[in-house]
Symmetry: C2
Subunit: 348 residues, 2 copies
Amino acid sequence: MTVTVAQSDLRAFIARCFKACGMPTPDAAKVADLMTKADLMGQDGHGVFRLPMYVKRIRAGGMNMTPAFKRLKDRPATALIDGDNAMGHLVMHHATGLAMEKARTTGVAWVGARHSNHAGPASLYAMMPAAENMIGLYLAVGSANHMPPWGGTDMLLSTNPIAVALPSQDFPPVVLDMATTVAAYGKIKTAAQRDETMPEGWMIDREGNPLTDPKRASEGFLLPIGGPKGYGLSLVFGILAGVLNGAAFGRDVVDFNADAETVTNTGHVILALDIAAFADPDEFRAGIDAVWTQMKSSGRMPGVDAIRLPGERLDRVMRERAAQGIPIPEALRTTLAGLAAELGVAPL
Amino acid sequence: MTVTVAQSDLRAFIARCFKACGMPTPDAAKVADLMTKADLMGQDGHGVFRLPMYVKRIRAGGMNMTPAFKRLKDRPATALIDGDNAMGHLVMHHATGLAMEKARTTGVAWVGARHSNHAGPASLYAMMPAAENMIGLYLAVGSANHMPPWGGTDMLLSTNPIAVALPSQDFPPVVLDMATTVAAYGKIKTAAQRDETMPEGWMIDREGNPLTDPKRASEGFLLPIGGPKGYGLSLVFGILAGVLNGAAFGRDVVDFNADAETVTNTGHVILALDIAAFADPDEFRAGIDAVWTQMKSSGRMPGVDAIRLPGERLDRVMRERAAQGIPIPEALRTTLAGLAAELGVAPL
């Protein structure tokens, strides 16, 4: 049975788990806030669902609880941050703040990070600039390789996601948050936990046949969107977030789920673009509302109940969950109860 | 029968056609050079193939032969250019040069353009920064709407492409140049001219059935890559290149192919990223070579002869055509001969 918990309860639970692992209180509060936001946003594969893995990694010595971020390179509109193997949420919260600060003057800023870790959903960071009349764009090297180059059988690429957030006026912001694979690996993990079958087209096995049992995910590969095009996007985003930042890419990517000890050296990019450098922000936000209205007004194919825009579900789920609480499926609740007992903290 | 022509002959032919239309000699030379490069790169739908349409538009008064670019907004790392309804090639050549100049100091620059026109293949501009130890990223609103929002039947979106170019050392640069639709419209026009059939998955008709005759393209819609994901990419890239720049988007997009008179107000974006702001450029380029080696070394699915990287075909075709000439299919040659007669210039 799925129970729902208030966001404040979830936030407090996550924070006390991290504190029990030795994370300083302000950092634990910040990560708990960002992880809870992921759940609020309906990103079920990227919120509290990941807590047991994070804790396992921290306890195995795989993440640094007292990191000191270094700015390795600095230009008026760019920076390269060394995350000192901190939780990815802390690194990217810092990097995004820096990008926004720079973009306010220069118009645009691109901040890269290395020696980071899994940071939750891509939209979490793209949406930060969007709250302040900026456009946010986020890229990352995924935290495990699940995809070969197109036509290949060696898993050298990840789901390398892109998120773009565009602020609006009366409608929800337009928020695109997508893996360059047909399905994100988080979705497959959620499907496995829920005993669901995957649709054909998400994964293939090593012979190229459809793989639909998410519990057999380790025997196959994720498929890129649009075949070679999605492969190209994954490759290019991975180079921008990985190779350019001196972060892991290709054979150097550590499977975050299978190996809790090795430093992952995860790479990310956040770009912040100040709308005022191009347009009146109010007019731009009204323009995004006009995009909503225009797309919604389109005629529909038979059987289609409504035209949707990226960010629509996120906004609806966020309102629902803020009001009614965050659903925690029974299997996850059991796992979290075990985690609380293991850490000696009060359960959720 | 397909004949091949030397690039210098093609360049001279294009330049004299434009000059005969009243384009100043330096501009005609610049556009001819960029269009010939498109053909050299193997972008057959974006080079001389488009010349008759460009000439038709110029003669109908739909493009400005004596434009004065204005810098409407200017920040250290951004600019918004008004292209004064010039040929898109001229606008984007100017915008890309400006972005590179800014990025040399600031680390990154984002230059948007409005009141531009069709500018040829996306990679043409992304590759300019890549020739000078920078990374180039280009976005545009496509020059005609051929796609509804996902589930819809009103054509409100275009193929809105992305190109990213990453410089290498001994291997070719990695160059991704892709429409957010399964097929670019240029490919469909080429297929129609060659009397070829399209594979299923490129287009659907208004009832959702596969459409495979490229001559019936006007009766159907292009399909986005990855369904709603490609729709999301097209929407977001279109907003960044269109709405943000005050350029046409959605219902305001003029079909460049069907209407030669109405000002298109085409929008584009070029981003230049100075590699030295993140890494030693030599090390980065060696890193791109390592990516080539690693991807190429992957095991292969049955029936796959080689793993390919984005930019591989472009580089091979460019070398072949530079040495052997540019193939011009007979139908196109006939069209160009007619154009030469119409303009009173020497044929190709």
